[in-house]
C-alpha cells in the first residue's frame, strides 16, 4: 500500500516538473530555478515522510508548547 503511494508521489512530482519545465526554461533566472527546486524538494520530502510514517511531530505541537508556556 505504501509502495503504491510512494510510486504515485514520484509520478505526481514528475508530472509537476514536466508541467512547469517550459515555464522555468523561459525565465532562465538562476534564482527562480533554485527557489523552485528547493520548494519541490521540501514538498517531496514532507509528503514522503508522511507516507512512510516517519514524519516528525507537527509544528503545531511546537506552537502549542510555546503558547501554553507563555499563556498558561
Amino acid at each position: 500500500m505504501t509502495i503504491k503511494l510512494i510510486v504515485l508521489l514520484i509520478v505526481i512530482f514528475f508530472i509537476v516538473i514536466a508541467i512547469d519545465m517550459p515555464y522555468i526554461k523561459k525565465k532562465s533566472s538562476k534564482r527562480i530555478f533554485t527557489i523552485y527546486f528547493s520548494l519541490i524538494v521540501i514538498g517531496f520530502i514532507m509528503s514522503l515522510l508522511q507516507i512512510i510514517d516517519k514524519a516528525p511531530e507537527s509544528p503545531v505541537v511546537l506552537i502549542e508548547k510555546i503558547v501554553r508556556y507563555i499563556v498558561y
Binding site: V16, K27, I35, Y36, L39, M46
Partner: protein, 362 residues
Amino acid sequence: MLKNIEISNKELIILMAGFIIGDSIIVNIARAVKQDAWISIIISWVFAYVLIGMYVYIAKLNPNKTLIEILIDIFGKYIGRILSVLYLWYFLHLSSLIFRSYSEYISIVVFPETPRIFITAFSSVALVIGLKYGLETIARTSMIAFIIPPISIIIILLRSFKHMDITNIQPVLEYGMNPILKTSFGLLTFPFGEAILFLMIFTFVNKKEKILKSSFISITFVGVLLIIISLMNIMVLGPEMINRNYFNLHRTSTVVPGAIIDPFITVSQLVLAAIQIWICIYSLLIGITQLFNLNDYKPFVIPIVIISVSLSNWLYNNVAEMFRIAQEIYPYYAIPFQFIIPIIILIISLIKQKGNSKSTST
C-alpha cells in the same frame, strides 16, 4: 509585471467577505458558549471594525506597499526579512488549516470512504489553476461563485423557520460574561483578524480611496451572516446540541423534514474555502517574490500548493485535535501577527509620517 494587476472595489468586498467567513462555519469556536454564541459574535464583530480599520489605516500610511514591503521598510533589511518570513509561515499555515478543515468536513459528512488526503489533493488542482491565471481571475470567479453561500443560507433559513424555538436562546448569559468575552476574543482572531492578509492585496485595488468603505461593507456582510447562522442554529437545535455537534449548520439542515438541503451547504463551503485558500496562497506567493526580488510568482504555484496540502495532512492526527487547537491555541498564536506587529507598524508609520510632514514644512 506584478504591478499591472488590478481588482475593483466590488471584487475586494466579495474577496474579503468570502475570505473572512471562510471555514469559520466549519470550525465554529462560538460553540463553547452554547446559547450565547450570538452574543459573542456580535461583540467580536464590533471590534472587528476597529481592528480591520487599523489594517486599512496602515495601508494608507504606507501607500502602494504590501505587508512584506512595509515590514522591510519599517524594520530594516534584517529584522524586516525575518518578520517577513514569519508572516509567510503564517500565510502558509493558515492555508493548510483551511485545507484541513474543509477536507475534514467533506470527509466526515459527504465522502466517508474517500481518504482525506485525496479530497485535499483533488480540490487543490482546481485552486492551482485559478492561481496560475492570477488575481484578476480569482477575483472574478469569486464574484460569480460567491452568490451561492448567502442563497443557501436563505433557503435553509426559510425551511427551518417553522422549527425555530426562540426560547432556545434562554437562559441568556447563563454562565456570565466571562466565557462570552473569552470566546469573543477568539472570534476576533479567527475569523476577523485574518484580514491582516489583505495588506498584501490592498495594493492591487484600483481605487484606493474606497478601500475603507469596501472593507466595512465586507465586515458588515460577514457579521450579519454569521449572526443569522448562529441564531438559526441555536433556535433550531438548542444549546446542548450546539455544543455536542461538530458541524452545527449541517445538523440544522438535516433536522428539517422534507427536501434534503445539506448539499447546499457543502457547495457553499467549497466556495468559501476556495476563496480563503486562494487569498492565503496568493499572499504567500507575492510575499516570496518580494522577499527574493523576483518579478513573477507563477512558477512557484504548484510547489507551494503541494507544500500546503502536505502540511495540512501533517498538522493534526484527528478532528478532535483540530477543534481543540482552534479553540485554545490559535487565538493566542495569532496575537503577534494580528495585533502586536501591526500595532508596532502603525506607531512607527505614524511617527514617520509626522517626521515627513515636519521636514516638508521646514
